[in-house]
């Protein structure tokens, strides 16, 4: 077992809490840098997708996991980011400018979509964001002069400081940089007053207000940051897929994103990456498994949706904290071995919380 002796407040502030973490995250980072030389292009391709969805996950986690605002319209932000990047890249804007614009436009859309969040919450907010998501999807379809409508929009390769990043490896490193920076920024936010204000709003609006937290302001910030990150992912997505069409940004996509962070583990940054990994790997695993299944099952329509559904039901029933929650339990088991007790993670039930002031 590890006992951490705290002798300095900085120990609680710095991101890597102890030497073990420094070592393992360092190792992970080195591995990610070396990977393109080691594994096949197919795996690199999948990793790029995981990176892109991780950025989406970071944004959505900030909003739903930390601020407690459910959004069923996140595919809209992905779409705004992707189309902005595609259109501006076609016009010859330099990549740093066009991607900043993609982030900015998505963030503005986020603020607009977030307006109802200032008045409604829970299931009502979900419906409001769902409606706005559908509106954005419709705009992408109908605004043919810009988006190409249903016939789609081809996207150019990234042009960075005059160098064309067309190779998979190049794009892998570009995405890696964005993932690392996004994660760092989100972690920074969570250890500073704004991040704590988000958590406060999630857990009790009435007392957040009494602590001097301006609800409307912080909810808007949360929506803007979340949408901005998703827009960044959208811009990368555009360059990854190289072809955009409105049916990539439907409500189903939004639901998949929400599912991703729930399965990964709501309210944790680790959960974002577990969720993104899961979302990308599972469909591949299913398609591999199809070959080994009897034709009646393997060939059945909707197999993937059924398996996704079953997995969600399983997580809701047995591990509401997602893959990360399970991982924490396994880690604790190993650390405490052989003293782990079955009830170590049992929460005491409380029925004290007042609902009267809401």
């Amino acid at each position: 077992m590890r006992f951490i002796f705290k002798t300095d407040y900085l120990q609680d502030i710095q991101l890597a809490k102890h030497r073990g973490q420094q070592f393992w995250y360092g190792l992970l980072f080195v591995a990610l840098i070396l990977l393109p030389w080691i594994v096949s292009n197919y795996l690199i391709d999948q990793l790029v997708l995981i990176f892109i969805y991780s950025i989406v996950g970071l944004g959505l986690m900030l909003l739903s996991g930390y601020t407690g605002l459910i959004s069923l319209g996140h595919a809209a932000f992905l779409g705004v980011g992707a189309y902005t990047e595609a259109v501006l890249a076609a016009k010859g804007w330099p990549f740093p400018l066009s991607i900043s614009m993609a982030i900015l436009l998505s963030a503005i859309t986020g603020v607009i979509v977030g307006l109802p969040a200032l008045r409604v919450k829970g299931i009502y907010l979900a419906i409001a964001t769902l409606a706005l998501g559908v509106i954005v999807e419709e705009v992408l379809t109908r605004w043919e002069s810009v988006t190409g409508g249903n016939s789609g929009l081809p996207v150019k390769a990234v042009q960075l400081f005059g160098i064309k990043i067309a190779s998979l490896q190049g794009f892998y490193y570009l995405s890696l940089v964005f993932v690392v920076v996004s994660t760092w920024v989100v972690l920074n936010l969570l250890r500073s007053p704004t991040g704590r204000a988000f958590v406060a709003i999630r857990d009790s609006e009435v007392s957040a207000q009494s602590m001097g937290i301006h609800l409307a302001k912080y909810k808007t910030i949360s929506f803007a940051l979340s949408a901005g990150l998703t827009g960044l992912a959208g811009a990368l997505y555009a360059h990854k897929i190289r072809f955009l069409s409105p049916e990539q940004f439907t409500v189903l996509q939004s639901i998949e994103m929400l599912m991703m962070i729930f399965i990964g583990g709501i309210g944790s940054i680790h959960g974002v990456f577990f969720g993104a990994f899961f979302l990308i790997v599972l469909p591949q695993a299913i398609s591999v498994a199809k070959d080994y299944l009897p034709a009646a099952i393997g060939g059945a329509a909707g197999l993937q949706a059924t398996i996704f559904g079953l997995i969600i039901v399983g997580f809701v029933m047995f591990e509401p904290l997602g893959i990360y929650g399970r991982w924490v339990k396994i880690r604790t088991y190993l650390q405490m071995f052989p003293f782990y007790r079955k009830g170590a993670f049992k929460r005491q039930k409380t029925f004290q919380k007042s609902e009267r002031n809401r």
Partner: protein, 260 residues
């Protein structure tokens, strides 16, 4: 600081929910440095007065003046900035955060860093985080919360949560502390601790306290003045002994004597 300087003045405060006059024409003033207690049977409107002062409800009539500033029209989140902190009757902590984080949220009104600085976690943010922590640690020391520093609130027993909530309110560094039933749900020993803390906070930290409380022994032990309410109306105001022997107050709690 003169002895009888006003910190909070409540003038002809009224609020009605539908046809129910929850608070009807209540006026009182709290002096700087005192412990002022609201008592009264259930439904007397004590918590409603609190919610009016912390601007969760809008008053339909009347004025609230804090340190010479009219606060009746301010948004709820500015109340804490002025230096008014509160606790809740049924505990409104941030359940999925640790005790330390809960207390740090109390420092929010002292935030001096911008969003951009926080996103990059500049040295200024780091410095201010350490200052926040330093302040919060002093509260942890005062309230004996060392053991629970890194525990999630959701796993804490009721008595400790009550103390954490008090700590979070103190982290604001308030001038006026509103405590809604600090002893409800606490056992005798915990209530005793609470009484000591109330006296410490009032005398050592110089925080004025306005409190709602049912436990009369605690009330008479710590309060300078007491206001008794019933059904939204003021019954009596004065020292704890005066109010307890007031016939109107006795009647409100026990009913009218039968005329024989």
């Amino acid at each position: 600081m003169s002895a009888n300087e006003l910190i909070l003045k409540v003038e002809e405060l009224s609020v009605a929910f539908g046809g129910v006059k929850a608070v009807n024409n209540v006026s009182f003033s709290v002096n700087r440095g005192e412990v002022f207690t609201l008592i009264g049977p259930n439904g007397a409107g004590k918590t409603t007065v609190f919610n009016l002062i912390s601007r969760i409800y809008n008053a339909s009539h009347g004025r609230l003046v804090f340190e010479g500033t009219e606060i009746s029209a301010l948004p709820a989140h500015q109340i804490a900035t002025l230096g008014i902190a509160r606790t809740f009757q049924n505990i409104e902590l941030f359940e999925q955060a640790t005790v330390l984080q809960n207390l740090l949220i109390g420092r929010h009104v002292h935030r001096a860093t911008s969003l951009w600085q926080e996103l990059l976690f500049t040295p200024k943010v780091k410095k201010s985080e350490i200052e926040f922590r330093d302040h919060v640690e002093r509260i942890i020391d005062l309230l004996d919360l060392q053991h629970h520093r890194d525990t999630h609130v959701a796993g804490l027993p009721y008595g400790v949560r009550k103390v954490v909530e008090l700590g979070r309110a103190l982290a604001i560094q308030p001038k006026l502390l509103l405590m809604d039933e600090p002893s409800s749900g606490l056992n005798v020993e915990e209530t005793d601790d609470m009484a000591f803390w109330i006296q410490d906070i009032n005398q050592d930290l110089g925080v004025t306290i306005l409190m709602v409380e049912h436990d009369m022994s605690l009330v008479s032990r710590v309060s300078n003045r007491v206001l008794a309410m019933n059904q939204g109306e003021m019954l009596a105001i004065g020292s704890p002994q005066e109010v307890q022997s007031d016939p109107g107050v006795i009647e409100a709690y026990l009913g009218k004597p039968a005329h024989v």
